[in-house]
């Protein structure tokens, strides 16, 4: 077994706890993620996918349980320490890009480096290198509103990668992209995962996108209901298995 970079133990999330409207969105979730894994999280709408990813990545605080990232208990950290921890260890990519609309592409990409107090000259070098990798050099001094959807998502990816995070957290990263941009993004994730050993945890509801992962977790009604390891399966075989499980789950949910 490889090095564990992310672990959740007995994770529970209750919204509006201690009120009449209390709603338990996650029930006793346990998961371990090894270094260099590419994990997919699938499930129907309202199953708790985003709640799950937010609670294991410091974006939200679980009601009960423990979360360890790179061996550190993040729930025991102060709000300020979590801030530092995020830009040093995690890179976030969201469906709606989450870019600062008032700031240039350059300033968006440089955000984690700025927080880390990196020297402006080094920031410039790294941002320009990253922009070149992402084919964004001509857009650096524009506002996000002046860029296409694909360019905006590439900016979000550049920002997530600029500080060389050990884990990338992606919540439906292809949700606002066309098929070509989606495939490019997933190939990039795969490359980072295989060549640089970056761990990726990605939420998706699309079986084809999920087929890029190395392990897939299915969530339903706040529980992890099943898991598939890609292992030695080829991509088609893995995809077929994902489709089979998700369609049987869909049928099951229709019957219930």
């Amino acid at each position: 077994m490889g090095e564990i970079v992310l672990e959740a133990r007995h994770l529970k999330k209750i919204y509006n706890a201690n009120s009449l409207n209390a709603y338990e969105a996650l029930h006793d979730i346990n998961i371990q993620v090894e270094k260099g894994e590419f994990i997919g999280v699938m499930g129907p709408s309202g199953s708790g996918k985003s709640t799950f990813i937010n609670n294991i990545s410091t974006i939200d605080t679980p009601t009960e349980g423990k979360v360890f990232i790179n061996g550190k208990n993040v729930l025991a950290m102060s709000a300020n320490d979590i801030g530092h921890f995020r830009y040093q260890n995690l890179g976030f990519i969201f469906q709606d890009f989450n870019l600062l609309d008032t700031h240039t592409i350059y300033e968006n990409i440089a955000l984690p480096l700025s927080l880390a107090g990196v020297d402006p000259a080094e920031i410039e070098t790294r941002v320009k290198e990253m922009a070149q990798k992402m084919d964004m050099t001509d857009q650096l001094y524009k506002l996000p509103s002046e860029c296409s959807g694909g360019q905006r998502q590439r900016t979000a990816i550049a920002r997530a990668l600029i500080n060389n995070p050990s884990i990338i957290i992606a919540d439906e990263p292809t949700g606002n992209l066309d098929s070509q941009n989606s495939e490019e993004l997933l190939e990039l994730f795969q490359k980072l995962n295989r060549e640089d050993g970056v761990t990726v945890v990605m939420v998706t509801h699309d079986a084809f996108i999920a087929s890029y992962t190395s392990r897939l977790i299915f969530i339903r009604d706040g529980n992890i209901t099943s898991e598939i390891q890609k292992g030695d399966m080829d991509e088609d075989e893995y995809f077929q298995k994902i489709v089979a499980i998700s369609s049987s789950r869909k049928r099951r949910s229709r019957i219930s």
């Binding site: 300020n80 801030g83 600062l100 440089a110 955000l111 927080l115 402006p120 920031i123 002046e146």
Partner: protein, 437 residues
């Protein structure tokens, strides 16, 4: 049903409604006082239209028809303020309007929904403003008598009619325009926040360009922006015209030179300080979206001061200009605040992103403090920069004392300080708690 929903919506946005009422209250007080002064048949207009010795063209404009010019000027300035206030209120209701559109609301229903809210607020603000105006008239008359004026202000029923007609007209049409904009552009645009920030966002020059033709253009705009300073020694008459031209030049200088240089400076020197770097980015946006409102403040202040000191005013005329000056500075400062807050109200997501990326709550507070402090500091600096041209011209002409400069600057500083505190409180209360997770 629409009426009940409108009242519920009004209750749900109490703080915005309060700002709205406050602006209309101040506008009502000023316009009521102003129309009473100007409409006092014998004491007001008759005195104002006294012909004076004409020195130059501007003096002719200012002196020969001062009552009319002042009337138009004050009405235009108050109108701009009313438009900005109404615009702010309606745009912050974008999401509500979007939901109504999606649910199948017709244009008439949308308009009715907005008009009920705006007119309900006017029903509170206008009588309060008129009452304050009535309370201030004896005080102003007392000062006038002390100054040796032969005339005092008498209450004119027509003044109330004039003010209410103008206000209702403006509020009605601004609301109609906003409702039309909402209806034409549909729910998607409103839900995407563009309704709040204005459909036509300024294009940002994120870097400084130094091609030959652009340098020539930049030199030209610097010259135009400095016109009021360059010609301040040519007497006081032309200063108002030069200041207006200067504002046009300033707009170009800001967008084509200062803001790109500011971006480059931040990128090259300040990126390692996240609070400074990202507050500067927000500040750049604030200046871009609020430009028109502080150009108007500069023009108002300079024109009114030129009016105050370029002629031998009678006590009533002086009082008219001083009252206008104080109220216009307050109202115009509020217009800047409303324009800025319209943009700030769509920043919640930006602060959530900063929070998610690793900004601490105290850093987010610092970003807000720095942004708003620098913004109003910049507005004050740029206004005083142009005002200094008028001060110099008036001192050279022997029409001005240091005390005058202190009082005028004091009024300006106090007004901007007031809106600075209000903006900061609005900004912090709206976002910090929600942005922090």
């Amino acid at each position: 049903m629409i009426g009940k929903d409108a009242i519920r919506s009004l209750k749900a946005s109490k703080s915005k409604a309060l700002f709205y009422c406050l602006t209309f209250y101040l506008t009502s007080t000023l316009m009521f006082l102003f129309f009473n002064m100007a409409e006092s048949a014998t004491q007001g207009k008759a005195e104002i239209f006294v012909t004076n010795n004409m020195v130059d063209l501007t003096k002719y404009i200012l002196n020969g028809n001062m009552g009319n010019i002042m009337m138009v000027f004050v009405v235009v300035m108050c109108s701009i303020d009313i438009v900005f206030t109404n615009d702010f209120y309606v745009r912050t209701k974008a999401k509500e309007l979007a939901i109504r559109l999606i649910s199948g609301a017709t244009y008439t229903q949308l308009l009715k929904y907005l008009l009920i809210q705006t007119f309900l607020m006017l029903v509170v603000a206008i009588p309060l403003g008129v009452l304050s105006g009535l309370a201030l008239i004896p005080l102003i008359n007392h000062i006038l008598i002390q100054q040796g004026s032969d005339f005092i202000i008498t209450i004119q029923s027509f003044a109330i009619v004039e003010y209410i007609s103008i206000t209702l007209f403006l509020v009605f049409w601004t609301t109609v325009l906003n409702a039309s904009f909402a209806y034409k552009n549909g729910a998607v645009l409103m839900l995407s926040d563009n309704m709040k920030t204005g459909a036509n966002k300024e294009k940002l020059m994120g870097f400084y360009s130094s091609s030959f033709t652009q340098i020539l253009a930049k030199i030209f705009w610097i010259f135009v922006a400095l016109l009021p300073i360059i010609f301040s020694n040519n007497g006081t008459g032309g200063i108002a015209v030069f200041v207006i031209a200067g504002c046009v030049g300033l707009d170009h200088v800001l967008k084509e030179i200062l803001l790109p240089l500011f971006s480059t400076f931040t990128r090259k020197r300040k990126m390692h300080k996240p609070v400074v770097a990202y507050a500067n980015g927000f500040l750049r946006q604030d200046i871009l979206v609020s430009g028109i409102t502080f150009y108007l403040l500069i023009a108002d202040v300079v024109v009114l001061i030129a009016m105050m000191f370029t002629r031998n005013d009678t006590p009533l005329e002086k009082m008219l200009v001083w009252v206008s000056f104080i109220f216009i500075v307050i109202l115009q400062s509020m217009a800047i605040m409303f324009r800025l807050e319209t943009d700030l109200s769509s920043r919640k997501r930006e602060f959530q992103i900063l929070d998610q990326t690793g900004f601490e709550e105290k850093q987010i507070r610092k970003v807000m403090n720095r942004e708003i402090t620098l913004f109003y500091g910049f507005v004050l600096f740029i206004t005083l920069f142009y005002l200094s041209a008028v001060y110099i011209a008036l001192i050279r002409a022997g029409l001005f004392t240091v005390m005058n400069a202190v009082v005028i600057t004091g009024v300006l500083v106090m007004a901007l300080l007031g809106v600075y505190i209000l903006t900061l409180s609005f900004y912090r209360n709206s976002f910090v708690k929600k942005a922090a997770l």
